[in-house]
Structures are given as C-alpha cells and as structure tokens.
Amino acid sequence: MATAEMTKTVTLKINGIEVKVNEGATIMEAARQIGVRIPTLCFMKEDNEIGACRVCVVEVKGAKNLAAACMFPVSEGMEVLVNTDRVRKARKTNVELLLSHHRMDCLSCPRSTNCELQTLAVEYSADQFRFNTTEFGRQGSEVDATTKHLVRDNTKCILCNRCVAICSKQQDVSVIGRNKRGFFTHIGSAFGLPLETTSCIHCGQCVAVCPTAALRERDDTQKVWDALADPDKYVIVAPAPAIRAQVGEMFGMPIGTNVQGKVVAACRMLGFDKVFDIDTAADITIMEEGTEFIDRLKKGGPFPMFTSCCPAWVKYLEYYYPDMLKNHSSCKSPQGIYGTLMKTYYAEKIGVDPKNIFVVTLMPCTAKKFEITRGEMVENHDATDYPDIDVTITGVEFARMIKTSGIDFASLEDADFDPVFGIASGAGHIFGASGGVMEAALRTVSEVMDGKELTKIDFEEVRGNEGIKEATYEIAGQKIKVAAVATPAKVKEVIDAVRRGEKDYHFIEVMGCAGGCVGGGGQPQIPGYLRNELDIPKKRASVLYNIDSGNPKLRKSHENPVVKEIYETFLGEPGGHKSHELLHTKYVGRSVYPTKELQDYLDKE
C-alpha cells in the first residue's frame, strides 16, 4: 500500500528487545508492542499529552535525565530501559510526592480499588507517609458540591489536567481550568466561583476521566433507599439503553457484556415495585420526533432539525447557539417522556395518586440529574407540586446499591421487564449509541413517508464512533441529508459549517459524549491505559446493536405494541394536542458571557 511505504519505520531496543514502530511514535506506544504497559496518570491520547504526572519515566541510553515515555518520540537505534532500579525508584518517589498532598481516606473512598493513584501506590510499594503533611490539597481545595451532578474535592486532585483537557477539547465549554501557579495551582472555575455559576453542561466527562475521586458523581442513592423503605411510596425504576451495556463492568464482567436481564433482576431484589424500560419511552420519542420531522419536511423547515435526547447537548445549544433554539426538536428526551407518562398515564392506569409514585431512573449520564430539575420537568402538567422524575442515579451509583445490599449480581438469573412499560423495539434500544437515535428515526420516518415496508432496515452509515457521520437517504422521492454528531467540539464544527453555507442538512442527531450514551459521564470509570488502548464505547454499543438485530420481529418504534396501546388509549395521535402538552417542551436561551449567576456575583462585588 502506498501509504505504508510512505510511513517511515524506526527500529529501537526496549529492555534489549528489538521493536519496529512508525516514526513519531512515543516510547510508551513502542513498549506496548513488546507487551509492556508503562503507567500514566495524566496521559490521554490527543487530548492531554502534557507529561505532567511523571510516573511514566524511563531510562534512555545516553540521556542524562529520565524521559517521560508518554511524550518522548522514538528514534533510530534508541535504547530504552523501562524496568531498572533507577526507574522504579523514580516512579515510586513521584507517586509518594503525589500522595503527600492527597487526602487518603481510601478505606471508604468511592473510588477505592478503582483508583489509578491507589493502584500505582500498591504496584510501586509507595510509602504513603514518606512526605506526610496534614495540609491536603492546595488553595482552592474546598469541596464544590454546588451542582446537581457532581462533587469536586480538590484534596484528592493530583493536577493531571485530564478533566481540564476533556472539558476544553471535546466538550468545548472550558468551565474548569488550572488557576494560579506553583503550590497554589488548583483546578477551578473563573474567579474561584462554584461550578454551578458557569456554563457547565453537566456532561460529567470530567468525572469519567478523573484518575482519583477528586471528581465524582453526586451520590443520590440515599433518596432511593428512603423511598424504598417508605410503605406509602410506589417506587418504580427504569434503566436507560446504555445501562444494560455497562453495569456489568462494575462486577468484573468484560466490557461489552449485556446485563439487561440481571439489571432487571437486581432491581426486583432491591425492592422496586415495578421495573420498566426507558427504551419504551425512546420509541415514543421517535413517534413524536419523527412526526415533527415529517411535519417540517412538509412545511419546509426550519432545518437542520436537531435531536433533543441529550440534556448536555440541549444545554450547550442554549448557551452557545441560543439563536438556533427553533431548530431544536421540541420533543422531550426519553427520560422526560418516561417521567411524564409515569405520573399521568401510568398513575391513571393503576389508580394511584401520582404524588405517591416515586420514579427512579438509571442513567449512564450525569446531565440527566440536571435534566430532571429543568422547569418543564416539574411543572408542565396539571399538578405542579411533584416532579416527573424523583431521582436519577448513574450506573455507578446503581452498582453501589447492589453491592451494599449484598446481591451477587453476576449469578443473578435474567429477568424480564414488567410488560406495561417494558417492551421496546430495537430502535429504542440503540438510542444509547451515537447514531442510534438517527437510525431509529429514519426507520419510522421512511416507512411512514414511503407507505411501505423498509427493504433495508440497517442505516449503517450513521453508526460508529467517529465524531461526525453524514449520509443522504432517499425517502418518498426526496433526498434527506442527515448527520450524527458526538461531542460539542464536533457539533460546533458542523453548525459553523452550516452557518457558513458550506453544509446543509435536514436532520442532525447530537450527543454530548464521544460515542453517545455508551461513553457517558455516568459510566464506570475505566483506567486511563484502557481508555487509550480500547474503543470502549464501541464495545458497549455492540451490546445494543446485538439486542436490536437479535429480535428481528420488533425493530421499529411504530410497531411497538406498548407504544400503540398508549397512543390508542391515552395520547391520541403522535404530535397531537395531548402529546404536545405532555411530551414536548421549550428551551431557554442562556448567556455565557457572563452567566446570570456570574453577573449576580459581579454586581455584588
């Protein structure tokens, strides 16, 4: 192949073993080829290549100082030693220095046994008291628990910069950064203000990449325990699509294990009165969003229409493109639809006062914790004194509940959802992967508009983990241009191209996290080395696509019998009056410069 010839290879020796790699590769990459994994606490491929943590140091023959393997490029004839006494001692000392400021409440720390710093401390037999200090963290080390979705505890921060890098490079909001310098350096927001006052979109990617417990999801499990213990509460729970593709990881199962049946079984054992499926609500989302899209095609716009399932994306649009709110689908997210239907349709069906129904959702996402507090989620229907969804917990919190209650998750027998709201089409299941919402919508929109059965049900062009996927489909004689985009950084590229007139689309699916919900901020934290080596969202997404293709009889939202029944007996027509009242929403333009909260602060000063 021509390109292979054009790439120069370099031969070097690592621990005396010869290895050939492409020019420009780092020592870390070369070492991986001979089966050596060099540790790192800061490195994230492309996003955070700054050589900050110094636990990857190696000896390079002829060089006076140790080199950072994550950054140091290989060269012809180079000789590298990655496991000498000097290397081990240097790494150990560097870990000990990191521990000197670290508040080590490891016994009950939520990241214990899954903490990258702890792992290294064990591997290098670090003496945690060698540079012991009673002052943990640095200036600005106060705990920030102002947001609905996460807690920042700088007494556990090692300044690896991963959170700052992902917030800026992928999530494109840069609401946190390194403030001050030297000993006073700390991660925080502008003017040392709480995160809640910034244009944070609650995506939780900072939590997902944090090597320690400096950033973690807000733990709302106690609210769930309380509800389960309350005899007056009728407690129902439902997992999002991606949950069944990732909770197994918290119990030692390989990444990409389908645990849908075990999740349902665990929920029953925890004592939930009913176990439903958010994927059913995803099918209803398609009915509403699809109808809205068809309507826009008839009316001629406004295009592009954006999907509205992802609350991080919704908030990003509100902050950065408030003039494009009209392009947004007015449809609530599957979680939003689920919550509303539980407190209206389902409450009516079982004759229970919605006040006494306690709705819990399991989400791979921290932004969903914010979403349930949005105005329209608490006051859109007749009753205003209770929220649609009472608590949202992430897969990590859910796994914690299972562990606390002593349930042996891995050996649970698979169980089925309660059928009233527990049957979903394949289209609903694939919502958890980037491109899934688009594919689900296209399946329904094509059949409705063409008036005949689809010959090809897989819309493979919009699948996969690339940040931007584009395709053109012919539906009812019309060329429909679509895109599926993940991460705000990528959607900014797309929107800016649309505004410059270089691109035009009819329909764009946007997800706030790379890979979609299967890469969400509420996922189990995966060590950095695995994140760098594996395509984790892809492995998780395969679970959802396998569920979809595994049930060929039900792959389209509009064929879901539960959905049909709800429209027939309760909602009426998709996009009709009742649907609009209950299942659609409004968005608010928000300002970044400055946010309202920051302006309040400035006015006070």
Partner: protein
C-alpha cells in the same frame, strides 16, 4: 478585604475596546490584551476579564487561568503608591519578612491589598537584582535600600497622603 473597588469611566472602557480591536485577529494575543487592560485600569477587575473573554471569544476560565498564573497581573486594585518588598533570598535572610509585616501593620492591610483611601498597596516581589542594598524595596519608581522594620515609618512619611 480592605479594598473598595473603584468606579471605572466610560473612557477607560473605550480604551479597552481599542486594545481588544488591535489584537482581535492575532492568535495568542491574550497576554498582550491583559497587559494593556492593566495599564488602563491599574489592575484586572472581574468585569474587565469577562469583557476581554467575550470580545476575544475565549472561555472566561481561560482568561482567569492566565491572569492568575502570571505574577505581573494584579486582581486587586493598586494604590497611588505601589510598595514592593523584595523577597529574594538575600533580602529575605536580612529580614524582608519582618519589613513586609511592619508595612502591613502600619497600613492596616494584608500583602496583596490596597488601603481604603487607595493611596498605598503592598506586595512582596521576586528578586529585583540589587542584593547589595538588601533588604530593598521599591515604591513606584523609587528604590529604598537597607530598610529594616524600624525604618518603615520613616519611609512612609516621605509619601504624602494627598496632593
């Protein structure tokens, strides 16, 4: 904080606009803009940093991260007389710490702050390179050498409170 934020004039903001306009299209010009803004306002108050972020289309955090990284940028107002006590090694071993404390006591402010009448601001600074005069300090452009804590009152009276 003993410091009261001064009220800024429209003319100052016009000058800021001019500086931003000049640098707007130049990539990596944030430091230059911050320097210019500090010349206009004397320091970098939050609303000025927000304005710079907005006009340069940068995240506010990036501006704040930069303004708090470099010691040349001030986030609190400075007085008519800017007192800088050298904290270099030579000055420090000869008692610069006690000198700083004495100024703080007599002015009733902490290092980094400014007196309420906006006359004096007090800071410790890095080595200014005249170790022969240690402990040394500067007040605006004046250099005062061999100043010990007993000499502080004598230095302050040289700077009349009004004029």
């Amino acid at each position: 904080m003993a410091t009261k934020a001064p009220v800024f004039t429209a003319e100052q903001f016009e000058r800021l606009d001019g500086i931003i306009e000049k640098y707007k299209e130049v990539k990596g010009s944030l430091i230059g803009v911050l320097q210019g803004a500090q010349e206009v306002f004397g320091y970098l108050p939050p609303e000025v940093q927000v304005k710079i972020a907005e006009k340069l289309d940068l995240p506010i955090e990036q501006v704040y991260s930069t303004s708090t990284f470099y010691s040349q940028f001030f986030l609190t107002p400075k007085g008519k007389y800017k007192i800088n006590i050298c904290m270099g090694t030579a000055c420090y071993v000869k008692g610069a710490g006690a000198v700083l404390d004495q100024f703080a006591r007599q002015l009733g402010i902490k290092p980094g702050e400014c007196t309420e009448d906006m006359m004096f601001s007090l800071d410790g600074c890095r080595c200014i390179g005249v170790c022969g005069l240690a402990p040394v300090l500067t007040i605006n452009e004046d250099v005062h050498g061999k100043i010990y804590s007993d000499d502080v009152a004598g230095v302050l009276v040289q700077y009349p409170k009004s004029e």
